[in-house]
Amino acid sequence: MLLAELVVLGLAYGLLFGVLALGLTLIWGVMKVVNIAHGDFVIVGAYSSYWLFVLAGVHPILSILFTAPFGFGLGIIVYLGLVRRVVHAPELMSLFLTFGISTLISSLLLYIYSPNQRAISVTFPSINGLGVVLPGNVAIAAAYAVVVATLLRIFLTKTYWGKAIRAVTEDSSSALLMGINPEAVSMLAFGIGVAIASSVGSVVMLLQAVYPTGGSEFTLLAFVIVVLGGLGSPFGALLGGIVIGVVDNVASLYLPAAATPAIGFIILVIVLIVRPSGIMGAKGR
């Protein structure tokens, strides 16, 4: 049952991708900024976990306790120092800015850690059920994703700041009238977005090797998912992640290995063309 196995694998990966996309969509929803550096924050988290493991023997899953708050702080610093100043500028400027931040992060990592790939070997026992085998590491990644998605859901629906984020996402002008401080909400959303990206990085360390310039792949992946699920919709992001995860894994069964990176591009173009409502509906500029 190779196909069934790939579907389960795709589901698990899809949950993780979906959570990654959640971070991107949260930021977009609140401040209409596409964070091109999103994937680079994943790499920052992955490198942090790598070094914590190599130097101090900290397990990647445990290192989330560091990478999540670290990412949150980093996000707030980046927001206050840089992003805040382009929120009301033409969209072109915010694209250039986050592209510049992406370049900065990846080139700093290149300079400090060289272009070499980094990987660690930690294996969890695989899970057997109904004739399907799921590698343990992937199952842990999926479990992480479920936990984050649940926490985020509770945060967004039950707490004041979570509700404020949703209010600003839905209608920023009436949120302003309700006395919500948009600056604080933006800062919080950016912090959470980067915290998610950076903690996903820790989990990624369980699944694959990383290298300094690998961030753009994660940015693209998150963006494909977000477009598929509808910009600004957290549920859509999760669903989109699962769809992409399954399609990507199943397609690898039928397509040559060399075509795999092109799959993302093809899916993106198809999604962009087939879902013009989501594209034209969103006020682009």
Binding site: E91, F96, L97, F99, T103, L104, A258
Partner: protein
């Protein structure tokens, strides 16, 4: 700088001073090979200027960012290299074919993407680069990973230099002509308010495609010329994201949307990318990142725009 003020153009003293500077620079470029030994330095400065200006031709005029700019450079390089290696074509034919191939590619990319607004367009172009890199890296007919080398007989540095000069002048003049034409006005209108542009009868999708075709043509020429000079091409050098990053920082530093800005940015940043790039491979990338971020935050209209603002302020005070 408003192309709508075409009437009332007078040759003021400032204009004639500008013209004099430009003529002296052009004359220097033409006689440079007679006294300057490292002609390849000038060649690559001009090559970068063409890359930055061709990026500007689309992004600066339409307000859309093409993060896949290097793809035009790479495809232009590959098409001309293949023609020279496999068909022993004349280098002139190969260079022009490289430019045309890239403009055709630009047309192909623009058809599905000019319907996309703002960020969607930018992200769609982000994904193009990887797709091209992987395709060329595994495609045996184009040399795959090992790449292609030109026969040594093609190497004619001085001829290459003069062709480069001609292409660079053509590129800057095209940008000037476009920004002063009806086409340029359409692009300005699209950049400032696309919905309104459409509603006054401007076919925005068509003009955006056309701008991308021009951008692709010149970037393709730059790629083809670079390959003629370097005599070697492989996927990592042809589809190197650093080239896009560099073009963007040059155009932005000089002044996005202006004619001369990318020329200034290209000339200023060349030493940095060339010298630093060779001896400290990643530091120049860090600096480029700092430049992009810094320009966005401090002088979003670039050196040219900022100095114009300062000048008007100084004049106003007098």
């Amino acid at each position: 700088m408003s192309p709508l003020k075409l009437t009332g153009f007078t040759l003021t003293r400032r204009r004639s001073a500008e013209m004099a500077v430009i003529l002296v620079l052009l004359a220097l470029l033409l006689v440079a090979p007679t006294f300057f030994a490292r002609i390849s330095v000038l060649f690559f400065i001009l090559n970068w200027i063409v890359l930055a200006e061709s990026f500007n031709m689309f992004a600066g005029l339409t307000g859309y960012v093409n993060f896949g700019h290097v793809v035009f450079y790479g495809v232009g390089g590959y098409v001309s290299a293949l023609l020279m290696v496999n068909a022993h074509a004349s280098p002139y034919v190969a260079v022009i074919a490289g430019g045309l191939a890239s403009s055709l590619l630009a047309l192909g990319i623009s058809l599905p993407t000019t319907r996309l607004r703002g960020a969607y367009f930018a992200i769609a172009t982000l994904s193009i680069n990887e797709a091209f890199f992987v395709t060329f890296d595994s495609w045996d007919a184009v040399g795959s990973a090992p790449g292609l080398s030109l026969p040594i007989s093609y190497y004619q540095p001085v001829v290459e230099y003069y062709v480069m000069v001609v292409v660079a002048i053509a590129c800057v003049l095209s940008m000037y002509a476009i920004s002063k034409s009806k086409f340029g006005i359409a692009l300005q209108a699209i950049r400032q308010q696309e919905v309104t542009a459409n509603s006054i009868g401007i076919n925005a999708a068509y003009y955006k495609s056309l701008a991308l075709v021009f951008s692709g043509f010149f970037a393709g020429l730059a790629g083809a010329l670079a390959i003629w000079q370097i005599t070697f091409i492989d996927p990592p050098s042809a589809f190197n994201v650093t080239i896009t990053v560099t073009s963007i920082s040059m155009a932005m530093l000089g002044g996005l949307g202006t004619v001369i800005g990318p020329v200034i940015g290209g000339a200023l940043l060349y030493e940095l990318t060339d010298l630093l790039g060779l001896s400290y491979p990643f530091i120049h990338l860090i600096i480029l990142g700092v430049i992009i971020v810094g320009v966005v935050l401090v002088i979003p209209d670039g050196i040219l725009g900022a100095s114009r603002r300062v000048l008007t302020k100084v004049r106003g005070r007098r």
